[in-house]
Symmetry: C2
DNA sequence: TGTACATCAGTGAACGCGCGTTCACTGATGTAC
DNA sequence: TGTACATCAGTGAACGCGCGTTCACTGATGTAC
């Protein structure tokens, strides 16, 4: 009985070739999925992109998704992780001013998919699971410490306060610059942020 | 000429014979829907709340929704509008420091549903329609102007730069304080924002 | 003032689509011998 | 080294649920006479 049903299904849906890949290729595919998701989530939000679109963008069909991840939430967590790792790794800045200039640049403002995870997904993460939220907290903490080290000075408490204010100002300025319609106002916000928070080229 | 005629007609006929009489209860229900939506959207995001939940919270069934609004997007726009209007109206602050203390208070941090629309829905609005985005731009502009007026001083350009940085810093500090897990760190972020953005003598 | 009718906000079922998830099946890869 | 078999990443159809939207219907409200 069941065999008959399967037979009918198979007849009605002729399949095409091109199947199993090497383990290396599979690992590459998995990495591609996470990278694609990390970009698309930042651009459109967690709820703004479906697994269908992610898998298609990665060059696969949606069915293969569950060979790599247990759920969409798992992918979200990995995508956030990758975004944070890349942003931390990308920091080749030697000073606060250098970092500030990169963070409040027009390239970063326009490159949401490759930019700051906090600015792009902060709201979504706050409403979602505790896992990404805890990871994000650690990221904020390390950013504050890095900034405080750059700021330096005799008063450590004052440097830390200033570091926190600088981190907040950078984040807020980027979000404002992205939220505003007028390109002139947007550029003005970026410039004001660079100038007021210690950038080197105001 | 034609435009004048239309204008006169519109002004002279606030209640035409064909227009239905506004019923008190219906108007109250509509207002209740917008208020509920404005709160729930801020708490859970546009995609985090369904019309079902909004209507139920407002004490109605979901079917009645389309007697008042054309679509969910329309309600989103009105909910943003109401949130911005209330936040602007609520500003009874006489100085930047007074406003800053209210904005970076623990009450505001914990009261997302009644708080700053930009902090709660900035990301969603940026990805959505142009209508709310334009409205948000005007709001940002007026906030900058208000801050610049409070800051004052002989150098108008410097005051404006400082106003922009203050607006960005307040927004970023609130978002960071909400995103962080550790209550102590969260309180520290709020305190640092109040101290650093409070003016020349914090 | 009362009666008959029209209006329309609200109800609850139903529809349709999107999307996360599952599943039977494929066939080249990787392994055992 | 070659052969047979087992594995499993990928495919595409299908499922199920949620949610935005539609609709026939209700009955109280407002209006006409």
């Amino acid at each position: 009985m069941v065999a008959v049903i399967y037979l009918v299904k198979a007849q009605g849906a002729p399949m095409e070739a091109n199947m199993r890949v090497t383990r290396q290729k599979s690992a590459e595919n998995r990495q591609k999925i996470v990278e694609t998701a990390s970009r698309l989530f930042r651009e459109k939000g967690f709820d703004g992109v479906g697994l269908d679109a992610i898998m298609a963008d990665a060059g696969l069909t949606h069915g293969a998704f569950y060979r790599h991840f247990g759920s969409k939430a798992d992918l979200e967590a990995e995508a956030v992780e990758l975004g944070l790792a890349m942003s931390a790794e990308r920091v080749g800045a030697k000073s606060l001013g250098e970092y500030l200039d990169a963070y409040l640049s027009q390239q970063h403002r326009d490159g949401v998919g490759a930019g700051c995870v906090m600015a792009a997904l902060g709201g979504d993460i706050g409403r979602n699971g505790a896992g990404p939220k805890r990871r994000m907290s650690a990221h904020v903490r390390s950013a504050i410490n890095r900034f405080a080290g750059w700021i330096g000075g005799p008063d450590a408490a004052a440097a830390r306060r200033r570091a926190i204010a600088t981190a907040a100002g950078m984040l807020g300025a980027l979000i404002l610059a992205r939220a505003v319609d007028d390109p002139d106002l947007s550029a003005e916000i970026l410039a004001a942020g660079r100038a007021e928070f210690g950038g080197e080229t105001p």
